[in-house]
Assembly symmetry: C2
Homo-oligomer: 235 residues x 2
DNA sequence: CGTGTGATTGACGCCTGTCAACGTCTGTGG
DNA sequence: CCACAGACGTTGACAGGCGTCAATCACACG
């Protein structure tokens, strides 16, 4: 249960082959290992809150984090889900702004906290690390731009189908073709940018059209191609 | 008329006090000056096109560039306007992806082309430059996230009011309180993410409510506070 | 003067948000 | 063990925002 608490940094985020830390020198690796601290979070915990100043970023060793902004009337807009290997909070740290999102734990999580100075030090002194982080940011920016276009032009129905496909691609299916990530209807609505009731109605429609099967929060994907078609996705 | 053609790099983008190039060493400055090339573009020119590979980024010495994605049925979604001092195209260069947007000249423009290798060289070798560029990207990402929330939660009416305020803040007003940037109704619609007709109708409403005055593409801001109120903006 | 692009207006109807009521499930406390 | 509260899910009714289509106007340009 607590096995990952004992993970040293080297067993964790730092040495994954696709980690952005892969280019660190042994010295730097040691520095980061020394500076960082690992922490456990329970479901529902807030890691940082929109509008607050954060003095470091978090590398996700395990778990799923919901990153969202609070809009009109407190309605949340989910910007993304971060999962094992992802980094959150670095945007605010590097742009030196207050956090523009809130990060909340969905699945029991284990995070590495890396102080701002350490991050900045790496950006300034390790060109390869810098490039990696830059690429990550640029990719996120590209995705954000795509999402803006989608939300501006697609119908709720199209967006919901699209989100289901994205969730499938990002979190996978279990052996029964059921989405590995479990979200409330309200959360789905807050990704798509619509009302909870609309999500419920559209999911029912998708079910009626044999695209998915529903069992509480479990969503089984029956016809991925169909969803892709509805969502106007070509990839 | 052609005076800016003769601007050397040092008189142009490179030495502006707020330029991201301000941290370059004399050597690097010389390298960039050597590698770059300046080019004139007429209104309507395409600088790069979505889906194409671009081998460098462009620094805007003068002019206004419309950056947009092409969505369903070819409808364009304007992501942002870049103006003097801004850099475009670096996202694709650094993330090593195909261009995810098209860049089109709105106002007669003069651009510096900086080859990818030069940009990457700077990111890898100059920590301060790297930080500057990273901050820029992070800020853009923050704005994109805000925009996602707005588009997902606000009505077209609210968004149009918001956009008018943004355009005012970014491009300013002339001595008659008229927006300095001139856009077609369709372009306004493509920022807001709505139909051209809706923009026309809402602008008429705003005019009727004494918030603005219209004269062709000229939009005079009469009641900024009113627009801010309608747009749910607090800043 | 014809042509084309952009702006405007009206008609129409569907998508989608809102409100309200009700069902379902889980955990808590008596 | 049961009652209850509270969170979540579902369904129906309803209206209005907004997209679409079509016709017309305004204006610039060759």
């Amino acid at each position: 249960m607590n096995s990952f608490q004992t993970l040293s940094c080297k067993d964790g985020c730092l040495d994954r082959s696709n980690s952005i830390f892969k280019h660190l020198t042994p010295d730097e690796l040691e520095k980061v290992t020394f500076d960082k601290s690992t922490e456990q979070f329970k479901r529902g915990s807030i890691i940082y809150r929109e509008g607050s100043r954060i003095n470091g970023c978090y590398c996700i060793q395990k778990g799923i984090i919901k990153v969202f902004k609070t809009g009109i009337d407190g309605k949340e807009q989910i910007i993304r889900f971060a999962r094992t290997g992802d980094i959150i909070g670095f945007r605010s740290v590097l742009s030196n702004e207050l956090a523009c999102t809130t990060a909340e734990v969905l699945d029991e999580a284990s995070l590495c906290y890396i102080p701002a100075e350490t991050l900045v030090y790496l950006v300034k002194h390790n060109g390869n690390f810098s490039m990696e982080l830059m690429q990550l940011t640029c990719k996120e920016l590209g995705e954000a731009n795509t999402y803006i276009t989608d939300i501006a032009q697609k119908t709720v129905r199209e967006r919901l189908a699209e989100i289901l496909i994205h969730l499938k691609n990002d979190f996978g299916l279990d052996e029964n073709n059921i989405l590995q990530i479990s979200l409330t209807r309200e959360e789905l609505a807050n990704i798509v940018g619509t009302a909870t009731e609309s999500v419920i109605r559209l999911l029912s429609e998708f079910k009626h059209d044999q695209l998915i099967e529903l069992n509480g929060r479990k969503i089984r994907i029956l016809d991925e191609a169909g969803l892709i078609r509805i969502g106007n996705l070509y990839n």
